[in-house]
């Protein structure tokens, strides 16, 4: 029973969350300074409010524990945030990696499931083989990750790049189909895939029969972390059928802002840009550059 969601038109600018959680590709010191600044959810909300008031209403965020608090604030204040959209990105890889070290693979999976004990018993018990159905476990894990967004608008749900690229590398592309179907059927949302290997992922999704996918990847003028090659990315964007979301458009600051935005907004099939910022000035300057340069519909 596949019901087609109403076509959701993604906004041109999406607000990312790396800056809130100490992810900085250039410097550990900067990352630590950001973690200190955003230790309170209030400090995160202050920046999100600045973005929202600047007309950037979509927050593309990992399913980090701290996001639960952001979701609670938005849920409790519908009058303040009538148009606030979440694009959840799952799974939050470090949460699973740490749990795997502590509990082992089966223990980690079980710990994230509502009926954890029962599942653990099933996985390790005699009925194991029949129950080793990756699909049913995956669906339960997706539901567990989505709990923090209950009652909120989540029109696009992303698979995180570490997981997408692990499945892509393993050749376990059936996982993309499982994710796609569950996100559509249960959440009426559009499934998205974050990757560091856009050309290879686009091919794998096509082979799984997933058409016109939402794919988020590094897309920037200098080819920073665009694996498979700059030209291969441009070929997919020019000749493929996809809804591309560009991240790292500034290549961690290596490209001047205006040059970066004017180049990326001219690309065909580009639907959105996701960017992170910690100050109102940077939010507004990115917004204004995009408004100025993004000519095509």
């Amino acid at each position: 029973m596949t019901h087609q969601p109403e076509t959701h038109q993604m906004d041109r600018l999406l607000f990312g969350d790396n800056q809130f959680f100490g992810v900085n590709h250039m410097s550990e010191d900067k990352a630590r300074a950001q973690m200190m600044r955003f230790r309170d959810t209030g400090a995160i909300m202050e920046v999100l409010d600045q973005a929202y008031d600047a007309g950037i209403r979509t927050f593309m965020c990992t399913t980090h524990e701290r996001i639960r608090e952001v979701a609670d604030v938005v849920r409790a204040n519908p009058a303040r945030y009538p148009d606030f959209l979440f694009y959840p990105c799952m799974p939050y890889a470090h949460k699973y990696a740490n749990a795997m070290t502590d509990l082992g693979l089966v223990g980690a999976i079980s710990s994230f499931l509502p009926e954890g004990g029962k599942m653990a018993a099933m996985l390790s018990g005699g009925m194991a083989l029949a129950q080793k159905d990756a699909g049913s476990i995956a669906r339960l894990l997706i539901d567990a990750e989505m709990k923090m967004f209950a009652g909120l608008k989540t029109p696009v749900i992303f698979l995180q790049n570490v997981f997408t690229d692990l499945m892509l590398g393993l050749g376990f592309t059936g996982a993309f189909r499982i994710f796609h179907d569950h996100v559509r059927e249960k959440y009426g949302a559009e499934p998205g895939y974050i990757t560091m290997n856009l050309p290879a992922l686009y091919k794998a999704l096509s082979e799984e029969g997933i058409e016109n996918p939402v794919i988020c990847a590094n897309i920037n003028k200098i080819g920073f972390r665009m694996c498979g090659g700059h030209q291969a990315y441009l070929d997919v964007l020019q000749n493929g059928r996809l809804q591309a979301v560009a991240m790292s458009v500034y290549a961690s600051g290596a490209i001047p802002a205006e040059e970066a935005i004017s180049w990326v907004t001219a690309l065909p099939n580009l639907k959105s840009i996701v960017f992170g910022a910690s100050s109102r000035g940077n939010i507004l300057s990115t917004r204004d550059l995009v408004a100025q340069h993004w000519k095509h519909p």
Partner: protein, 370 residues
Amino acid sequence: MTKPPAAARTRIAVVGLGKMGLSHFAMVNAHPEVTAMACDAGGFLTDVLEKNIKAPVFRDYDAMLASEPLDAVLIATPSRLHGPMVRAALERGCHVFCEKPFTLDWRLSEELADLAEAKGLVNRVGYHYRHVGAFGEVARLLSAGAIGQVTHVLAEAYGPVVLAPKRSTWRSQKGEGGGCLYDYAAHPLNLLNWYFGTPVSVAGSVLAPIFSTDVDDQVMSTLRFANGATAQLSVNWSDDSQRKMTTRLTFIGTNGRIFADRQECQIYLRKAVEALPDIPQGHSVKYTTELTTDPWFYLRGEEYSHQIGDFVAEIRGEAPSGVPNDFRAAAQTDRTIAMILEDQAGLAAPPRPVSRRPETPRKRRFFGLL
């Protein structure tokens, strides 16, 4: 990279689908010039993979070696098993990539290096930090004499592995090669070995548990190298102020200072050096992002892809990056680990004198008054 026909691809089996093996398999499998297969004695994950991927999954290592025409194996099993599995592969003429630490006995490591070299087989060990742009830059700077005579080194690694008493795995058992020394400290030690060779003496080693029962969670030691440098090792895997493992190296020499981590290489030169026209006098920085090229496939950092890319390139007679990361180099690290263990147990030989260096001039005092 264009995909060659199946017959022209390199056939590699990834052995052990644990924490490292699974991601190694994903990268090997994604390599356009490779036909990959997996081998693991079994368990939940192996069952799930077998049902869902195209690549063949074997259960028995020896049977696979006997039946499959393989070019190479990648060994990612618990450390204690590395020695016999590596030997079996070499004896069948397979090229070998082995996870770190190489073996738990440096004499065995040397023996396997001898065997691989005698047979002319490609042999590499998974010390991925050598493929991080910033640490490669350190090698270039030090070998060009950027900071003069290096006297003072700080080698650190911190991360959130053992934060409470926990269930037992091979990583928590000493005899299996578990513990912070083998798992974490091996990385900064391996980088020091790259820059300075094996230490001439080790002193003041402290290996202490914090939450673990059988193994060390923190390691400190003082290492002296033939070039006169003294390195302080400070490693702790019970530090959750770090989001993930962080390795940092600081070098002070007669002409300046270098600091490096995975992200960047910060340099201070008292005077510019002729051999390094790109490094100015004073403070400067190079970011890993500008020192690294994109690999064919990205999963968890370029360095993990590049170490496998090098292995495949060397097997295929293509040009690898030139980063030295073979059995012989890893054996130096196994030797260094053994020196630390002996020192901690009070078994170390008395330190040999370090090469004699000219005496440093005394600070001039103004008539002895200041």
